[in-house]
Symmetry: C2
Subunit: 333 residues, 2 copies
């Protein structure tokens, strides 16, 4: 296969402040040969996630991404040659292929995927995003029917599902998102009970109005000022599912939210961080629920598919600026 080239996007510099397309460069590499125990895959859809940016800060739940290397990222890919038992040409897999057209990866780092239509759902509602929303809300947040659930980055891949699952569970669902259009979309299309525009001056009173009985569960994707605002509105024995801190990835504020730990004590709050992989043993049960909800029309799946590997850097930059609705991914080739 070495007669064909492998287009790759390298991270050429770690951003000091905001990430931009200039921190990446496309190069023409070669298609690797799979070693013993490895599988050669062709990348189909690259998942874009705020976490990609966090990986640039240093080791998190995975090693830091390094400059000069192919930018890391999960993707749906198709096996085109296998040197490992259990994988055959034509299999669909999920793995950290990085931002490139072809990758040779150890079979043990790949996860086999079922064939279903549309394939892209394997990255959104039936992928990391759906599983993150499911376990973060239900296992970490533990909402009870009648309670108020607030989620930030509510128009994003995870947030848009969190609100819909909250509704399925009989909760009041409130989304926090940037801009009137997104807020309108959350309530009119996705069935959120209320939406709060954090770019609006009056976010604090708007949050109070949207959650008049206070917040029982806050699903936090952003940290920073929005976490601080929600902390002040939490009810006694409230729970905060700490999923991400996207407000801090490009521009860390250098200080944490006020009210920590004072409000945590007084209101007996529980803040719990999680990573979806912590729940890997229970993916089956989650997928069964998610599939039945999608089939029944209780969950609307929104996807934001960008064409062309070369557009991956700006797709990530735009995601960090909040320009997407639902799950953003790049279709490769």
């Amino acid at each position: 296969m070495s007669d064909r080239t492998n287009r790759q996007i390298l991270l050429i510099e770690k951003p000091k402040g905001k990430l931009g397309p200039e921190h990446f460069r496309m190069v023409q590499g070669t298609i690797p040969e799979p070693k013993e125990g490895e599988v050669l895959v062709r990348v189909c859809y690259i998942s874009l996630d705020a976490a990609n940016r966090a990986w640039m800060h240093g080791a998190t739940y995975r090693a830091a991404v390094e400059t000069g290397s192919v930018m890391a990222g999960g993707a749906i890919a198709e096996v085109i040659a296998s040197n490992a038992p259990g994988f055959a040409k034509g299999d669909l897999v999920f793995g950290d292929t990085g931002w490139q057209e072809y990758a040779a990866l150890p079979a043990k780092h790949l996860q086999k995927l079922p064939r279903l239509e549309p394939t892209t759902h394997l990255l959104s509602v039936f992928g990391i995003a759906g599983l993150t929303a499911y376990f973060g809300l239900l296992s970490v947040g533990q909402p009870k029917a009648g309670e108020t659930v607030v989620v930030s980055a509510a128009a994003g891949s995870v947030g848009s599902l969190v609100g819909q699952i909250a509704k399925i569970k009989g909760c009041r669902a409130v989304g926090i998102a940037g801009g009137k259009d997104k807020c309108q979309w959350l309530t009119s299309e996705l069935g959120f009970d209320a939406a709060v525009d954090y770019k609006d001056r009056g976010m604090f009173p708007a949050l109070k109005a949207a959650a008049p009985k206070g917040i029982d569960v806050y699903f936090d994707n952003v940290g920073g000022d929005i976490l601080e605002a929600c902390l002040s509105q939490m009810n006694l024995n409230g729970r905060i599912a700490c999923c991400g801190a996207v407000s801090q990835y490009d521009e860390p504020s250098g200080a944490g939210p006020r009210g920590v730990p004072g409000l945590i004590v007084v209101k007996r709050l529980t803040l719990r961080g999680f990573i979806v992989m912590d729940f890997a043993a229970r993916y089956g049960e989650a997928l069964a629920d998610l599939q039945s909800w999608v089939k029944a029309g209780q969950i609307k799946v929104q996807e934001d598919i960008i064409e062309g590997l070369e557009n991956t850097p700006r797709a990530l930059v735009g995601l960090l600026a909040g320009e997407n609705r639902g799950k953003r991914m790049v279709k490769v080739g």
Copy 2:
């Protein structure tokens, strides 16, 4: 009884910054008559707690204390006249008598105490302090044998017990306290494995050296910079029992600790706030354990008893400055 006076200490001004004796004034009141359902008590020992200062900021888990009123505070008291069934002259009770010699209180707000020697243990190891240490460490922190437990304000009433209970449960116990003498006392007298002087410049490396395998459970009495330092040393799936934020009571920093929520996510930490009253249904089990540990010499009880109601203001001011070792209380009359 109205021929005798009732010395009382009023809060005459809410402090804007540091609390001082000038915020209080002693007055001569009258001894009240107990109404129907009330009990007249003579105050024996007033409990001093950092929380007394927090009450001045506004409503917490109790109403705010107000200027011009007798300063609030829990105490051991003896019933001298009862207008309520179930209480008789000579009974020993715990209640929020406030800082005065006599109080008439609704019987339902009083808790009957057993007679035991020394009576003061009912305010320390067998009182709120002991119960707070017990439930905060064991139910909220959930330490396992072999894990590292760190506690701040470690020479205080709660902290000194947390470390000793951690040792009983087979953990490595590390105390954070102010000054070499206190640190020395924690390790040589109370059996802590290590102590860290937060007033020393090298607190950060000292904490690392004291907890070389990282922190599994952090019992937080202080918030602020020390919480921030501990956050950075927490192990994966670590737990933080949020008990108080004494560093913020006199001088709120206006910002929370860095790393919230970033480190909470990456390390999958759980921060949980609690108030000892949340565990009221289980006090019996805790007291049985605490009594057996004291009897067996596994817990050393340190008390810091100051004589005279008139000294209560400076006793609280001194407590907030960290001058006490173990449970501070004022013996009245």
